[in-house]
């Protein structure tokens, strides 16, 4: 496989090319034509399919290839997340089509289809298609548990009324459908041989500040909503930056490190509008509506299509800052995180592992690997608890006797990472620290010393970035927000690189903050993945409901283009599932997120806690 095809096939469908998180502007054709096929993500899939002769050249292929202006923005975005440069694929796609046409190749025109015509009658001529090139880009995702399914139709409605009419029409013709988010769920949920409904055109955002809500259309991504909210002085609780708000709530409910104070699931919204499976429109607040706040422990489908949601707004105070509290063990980190949650200290709390921290700080895989090693071997940091809060919260942490890396230190560390990984003096710091780990962080002048020792600068940080992109990244890291842990967390950029080395498969569970139980499950996750030779690592833990429960992510990594690794991942997930079920039945307090999928509008209390015991 040549490098271009390899790059094309390695698109992880994280949809980071569909949000302007680097302030570079977005792919112009994607903005105009909305189908994923016109974004770099779709072109990657399309080129791979054409190169492997899995689809013919169609009318849309030509439009998709022609519409790329080779601006190169996708290189910045994709390199930031995966260290890939898609523009070589964009170029190759254009070249492939040009050669094909030069050689007199036949272009497959769309076949007439009465149902398609009816769909076009509802959504408009351009916004429904059965072109195979478009369909291909909606046919698969990197989830090892999902098999590709080529849809007959791809439909992009613009309003709730259009969604309703589309559903009724599809029902009339007995056509199955799936609703698509920004990426492709990466969980295998959004494929259908019938129709795929892409809500990417429905990007309305309406603030009602008086009532502390913002009404969000189903095509609005987390990053865009947060940006709009922050511009007005508010914050919303959001998931991954490219995830669509409505889809995300529908799927699992939104959780983030801010869930420690903002909650999850039904805590995050006030009302929502749906189009039911019968095509009828209802609101969550209707007395006669189905009770989506209720929860049942079962793998269930979605209750309909969420066409808008009233998301809750939260305060931002001017003195918010971050504390990264280092720990040598998971147990001690958990104790601290639980203590903070119980005492309501901090807005966002997360127990982060070495992989998470090093990947988020480092612009390249190579540096991330060195940083992870440095943190573990030299700084003796295995885990960090990130707490974001106001000055009173951070003061409390000091009073609790913990030293931490503050915003300034994190910036110094971040921009000085290459020096840090080669710093001999780190060994000495630990030797001198002796029995009081991390006490050096309590020195008033430690940041000054670290600055002198690390000589932090954007230029230093990006020294092993691809030379063609280095200037851009140097400018990027000169921007204050790119080293501001509050901003990076609020916009969820902090976790965007988790799948950089390989596609990441997050296994999520809800459980009590019970050190023994968590350690046991953590070890089991590791043992299972190791036994299949899969890269794996602890992800994060965030306390919920004042520390009574937490959400725990453990990550398995796989090369989704390698059938062998996909098979191993399938097996590992199955074994992990059995292990979770065992703990769930033994403790009665462990809930696998699998049973929350499709029920993200429910009250968190209904899946975090059980009333069975009390009823006995």
């Amino acid at each position: 496989m040549n490098d271009i095809l390899k790059t094309a096939k390695n698109c992880r469908h994280y949809a980071m090319c569909k949000i302007d998180f680097l302030d570079t502007g977005l792919c112009a054709s994607g903005m105009e034509k909305h189908y994923v096929s016109f974004y770099p993500q779709g072109r990657m899939d399309l080129y791979a399919a054409l190169a492997e002769e899995r689809i013919p050249v169609t009318e849309k292929c030509i439009e998709i290839a022609d519409s790329c202006d080779l601006c190169g923005k996708c290189d910045y975005q994709c390199y930031f997340v995966t260290e890939m440069k898609p523009s070589v694929v964009m170029n190759a796609l254009k070249e492939h089509i040009r050669l094909y046409l030069d050689q007199g190749g036949e272009v497959l025109m769309p076949k007439h289809d009465n149902i398609l015509e009816e769909l076009k009658g509802i959504v408009g001529e351009y916004w429904a298609t059965n072109d195979r090139a478009v369909a291909l880009t909606y046919s698969h995702d990197p989830c090892p548990l999902a098999e590709p399914r080529m849809p007959e139709y791809v439909i992009m409605p613009y309003s709730t009324a259009e969604i309703s009419a589309v559903i009724k029409l599809l029902n009339t013709h007995n056509i199955k459908y799936a609703v698509r988010g920004n990426g492709s769920s990466v969980m295998g949920f959004v494929m259908s041989e019938g129709a795929v409904i892409d809500l990417g055109r429905m990007k309305t955002i309406h603030f009602d500040e008086k009532n502390w809500v913002v009404k969000v259309g189903p095509g609005v991504a987390a990053f865009d909503l947060q940006k709009a909210a922050v511009n007005r002085g508010f914050r919303v609780n959001v998931a991954e930056p490219s995830a669509l708000i409505c889809a995300n709530i529908m799927c699992s409910g939104i959780f983030s490190l801010f869930s420690a104070s903002y909650g999850t699931a039904a805590d995050n919204f006030v009302d929502a509008e749906f189009v039911g499976h019968d095509g009828e429109i209802f609101r969550l607040s209707d007395k006669s509506a189905q009770n989506l706040f209720a929860y049942r422990k079962e793998a269930s489908g979605i209750p309909g299509i969420c066409s808008s949601v009233h998301v809750r707004l939260h305060h931002i105070t001017s003195d918010e800052s971050a504390a990264f509290v280092p720990f040598e063990s998971l147990e001690r980190a958990l104790d601290f995180a639980k203590d903070c949650a119980m005492r309501r200290i901090g807005l966002a709390i997360g127990v982060l592992g070495g992989e998470y921290i090093s990947v988020f700080l480092s612009p390249t895989k190579k540096l991330a690997a060195n940083v992870k090693k440095t943190f573990r071997d030299k700084l003796k940091i295995e885990y960090m608890v990130l707490v974001i809060g106001d000055r009173y919260s951070l003061r409390s942490i000091k009073e609790m006797g913990y030293n931490y890396f503050d915003n300034r230190m994190i910036k110094i560390l971040n921009l000085g990472l290459p020096s840090l990984t080669s710093a001999k003096w780190l060994d000495l710091i630990n030797d001198f620290t002796g029995d009081e780990p991390f006490s050096y962080l309590g020195l008033k002048h430690f940041p000054d010393l670290a600055e002198a020792a690390l000589a932090p600068s954007p230029a230093q940080l990006v020294h092993d970035v691809d030379p063609e992109l280095r200037t851009f990244f140097e400018k990027l890291y000169s921007r204050p927000e790119m080293t501001d842990p509050v901003w990076l967390n609020m916009f969820r950029i902090i976790s965007a690189r988790m799948g950089r080395e390989k596609h990441v498969l997050a296994i999520m569970i809800y459980l009590p903050i019970d050190n023994k139980l968590i350690t046991e499950i953590n070890n089991e996750f590791k043992r299972i993945a190791d036994s299949h030779g899969l890269k794996n690592d602890y992800g994060f833990i965030t306390p919920l409901d004042n520390g009574k429960r937490c959400v725990f992510e453990y990550d398995y990594y796989l090369d989704h283009t390698d059938p062998g690794e996909r098979k191993k991942a399938q097996q590992a997930i199955m074994e992990a599932g059995i292990m979770i079920e065992k703990h769930s039945s033994e403790t009665g307090t462990v809930t696998w997120i699998r049973y929350v999928f499709g029920q993200g509008f429910s009250r968190k209390e209904s899946f975090l806690f059980s009333t069975d015991e009390a009823d006995k």
Partner: protein, 394 residues
Amino acid sequence: MTGRKTEDNEKCILTGATGFLGSHVMAGFLLKGKSVVIMGRSSGGESLKERIRKLLRWFGIEHLEVLLEFHETDFQKTRMGLGVNEFEKLYKRRLPIIHCASDTSFSEKSRDRVMKSNVENLSEILNFAIKSRAKFFHFVSSAYAAGTDSIKCSEAPVISVNFNNVYEESKAYAENIVSKRCGEGNLPYTIIRPSIVYGDSVTGRSLRFNALYYPVRSLQLIRDIYLSDIKNNKGIKSSEWGIHINHEGILQLPVRIFIPNEGKINLIPVNHFTESIFSIIENPLNKTYYHITSNNPQTMASLVKYTERFLKISGLEVVIGTPSADEMRNPPEELFDYFIREYRPYISDRRIFTRENTNRAVSGVLPPDLSYEIFERCMNFAVSADWGRNLFNK
């Protein structure tokens, strides 16, 4: 030395042989051709034997391993973790015991661990010694077990109730337990109290690089941070604090070292410690305390001069007194202060240790004064061993 096992009447039991002082005692015995029974534990995935072998290689006496007998012990367990037969065979041999095992942490945060190691763990080894009716129990303590209540510290039981840190306190408790239990069990004993031990004054070699080495290592670290800033970052941070390369081409590093009073640092080289301990145990006097200390301790000012010369820096200044809370401290001062915080009581120590008992035992042989030549030799070795990180390649 060829290494032929000696009879039991020339042997002794040694604990703490993997530590700094214990390993030198072990090596000293082996070089005298005497067999040693080693009691110790595995650690960090290495068995006791592997740990000792590594040390023998360091001393260059691997061929003398045949003179050693190993018993993996755990002083927190009944019968020191030995099997019934092994325990029985061992105690019946009535070997003299040198108990060097110790936790040398000063940190209050490690109080539980230090007390367990230095005090609680005595119980099983003393049970063994008494049951064995050992010929002698030699307890290696510390001159600083004397505590802080009196400047004049005599070779006698501790009377202080105040201590600088948990290490001193644990050693005082331990001495008390040893004298009490040995007295009750009719077990003859000695208490041997070295002051701060550094490397070999003749070769410069050392296995540990704390105490004397810490301030030098700290200043080397600080020096390197600012040299790097000057070299790689135009000295931007250095200039904020008046740190620069002076006209002689050496780093001007303005660091005030605050010490509470004009005390001194009592240092002895490890070779003097081993020579003294052998003299003591050759003709030990029951219930006797021995100070292996210097009669001519160093001043901080002289050590600072040595350090400046060794590290090729200038600007260090010893200030008698305590900085006021609002006194401006520069980053190197704060870092240096932090690094040596646990050693602060020992760099301006006013305690004077008498050594009549020791003088008698060693026939008046005194430790050499720490000259710059000895200092340089020791520090050169420390640097070449990367302060212990590259130790076993040396």
